[in-house]
Structure formats: C-alpha cells, structure tokens
C-alpha cells in the first residue's frame, strides 16, 4: 500500500510541476493545488500507514486500548491543508484581480513591473 501511495504522490507532484510550468495563471493555480495535495499525501504516507483504529481515546480510559494510527501526521496535514487553503484562496483572488487590472492571464505578458523594452543604462557618470 505504501508503494501505491508513493506512486500516487509522485504522479501528483509531477502533474503539479507540469501545470506550474505553464504560463497561464489558472493552470499555475491548479498546479499549486495539486502539488500541495501531493505533499499532504506524502506527509500522510510518511507517518506510516496502519489499519488500526482512529486515534481517539474512548470515554473512561486514560489511553487507547491497543494500537492506534499515528495522530501526528494527521495534525500536520490538517495544519498544512488549512494554510494551503488560505494561500490558495488568496492567490485565486489575486489572479482574478490581476486578470481584471492587467487584462491578461499570461505571465509572459505581465511586464509592467519589469518592462521588456527598457533602454540601456547610461554609459557614463
């Protein structure tokens, strides 16, 4: 099962990188999303997969009876998902506003901050 998940992680990250290499903002956004999910899945796999019960202590007991799944990777993933969600929603709004104000979603055409046709610097003091 670990092997299957490792291959899936690889696929996710490859797809994310492929989409990020595109010039269109929307594809880059999708790429970030897929890449982030791949990384989350990787953390999940890194915490070792078990078929044990969920890491919840039943009422009345001080600790769980028998083996439980490792709760730490799940906490890490939850944090990462929340943060990734916040970042993604910001980037989504940003891409939308950029599309409205710059009238393009192609990063090659976004040259306002770095003008492509800037003249050479003066050659003397």
């Amino acid at each position: 099962m670990d092997l299957v998940l490792a291959v899936v992680v690889g696929l996710f990250i490859a797809l994310g990188v492929y989409l990020l290499l595109s010039r269109a903002l929307i594809r880059m956004l999708m790429g970030m999303l897929v890449l982030g999910n791949g990384v989350n899945l990787l953390i999940f796999t890194a915490g070792r997969l078990t078929r044990e019960v969920a890491p919840i202590v039943p009422p009345g007991l001080e600790q769980a009876p028998g083996a439980i799944a490792n709760p730490l990777p799940q906490a890490l993933i939850l944090t990462a998902i929340v943060i990734g969600f916040a970042m993604f929603s910001f980037l989504l709004v940003l891409a939308y506003r950029a599309y409205q104000t710059l009238d393009c979603d192609d990063t090659d055409e976004m040259r306002l901050a770095e003008p492509a046709d800037a003249p050479n610097p003066p050659l003397s003091y």
Binding site: A54, I56, V57, P59, L78, V82, A86, S89, F90, L92, V93, Y96, R97, Q100
Partner: protein, 141 residues
C-alpha cells in the same frame, strides 16, 4: 439559483447548519469535530444565505465585519493560551474547570475557548473570501 423554492428553504437550511456547526465545534475535544470543521460548516451556511438572498443580506446577517470576526477569534485563541501564565505552567497548557449544574457536570476548559477562537477565525476568514468573490470587483479582502 434564485428560485422561490430555494429562497423559501434557505433560511431553514442556514439555521440548521449554524446550530449543527456549534454542536460540531463543542463536541470536538474528545470526538470527531472541532473548531475548524465547525467554522467551515458555519461559513458554508453564510455562503448558502449569500446564494439565496444575495451578498448584502448575507453580509447583514453576519452583523459584524467578517474580518473583525476572524480577528476576534485570533484574540480569543491567543488569550486562552495566555491564561496558563497564572498557573505557573507553559504557554497553552490546558486549564479545566468543572461546573456542577444540577444533575450534569459542564467541563469548561481553555482548549474549548481555543476551539471557539478557531471557529470564529475560520467563519470570519472564509466568509470574507466568499463574500469577496461573490462581487464582481473582488473587493473585500
């Protein structure tokens, strides 16, 4: 989306979702649930309201600025961690208070206030984003 059926049913759905979100938030300490998922449910309720009766109605139903709600959540969560300063233990150490109310015992704790803080952060932040995206100009963030 703007059908009579949806507009009639929406307040019911919204009310149920909000009550359910509080339930999920409060049961979260020892069972599946918690502030994050509760806040998400509450924010979805606001989104449903926004779809049925428009952005302005949803904005009015929140009463406060959604960003201010999120900020209040951060404040509540941080303060709940600070309380353990007075018990001589580390930051974010939980403090429990068992209130005897007649036949039941109500456990009050700092993790619960932390969770309520998270609930408010998620509700406020996601409502702000959702309401911001529902307008044409994307204003609101």
């Amino acid at each position: 989306m703007n059908t009579v059926i949806f507009r009639t049913i929406a307040p019911l759905i919204v009310g149920t979702m909000l009550v359910f979100s509080v339930y999920i938030c409060l049961r979260g300490h020892n069972e599946p649930g918690g502030g994050f998922i509760g806040g998400l449910i509450a924010a979805s309720a606001i989104a449903v309201l926004g779809m049925s009766s428009g952005r302005d109605a949803a904005r009015r139903a929140l009463r406060f600025d959604p960003i201010a709600i999120a900020a209040a959540g951060v404040l509540l969560a941080a303060s709940s961690g600070l309380l353990s300063l007075f018990t001589g233990s580390a930051f974010m150490t939980s403090i429990w208070l068992y209130l005897e109310l007649g036949e039941t015992t109500v456990p009050l704790s700092t993790p619960m206030f932390f969770d309520i803080g998270v609930y408010l952060v998620v509700l406020g932040a996601i409502s702000a984003i959702g309401l911001g995206l529902e307008t044409d100009d994307g204003e609101g963030l």
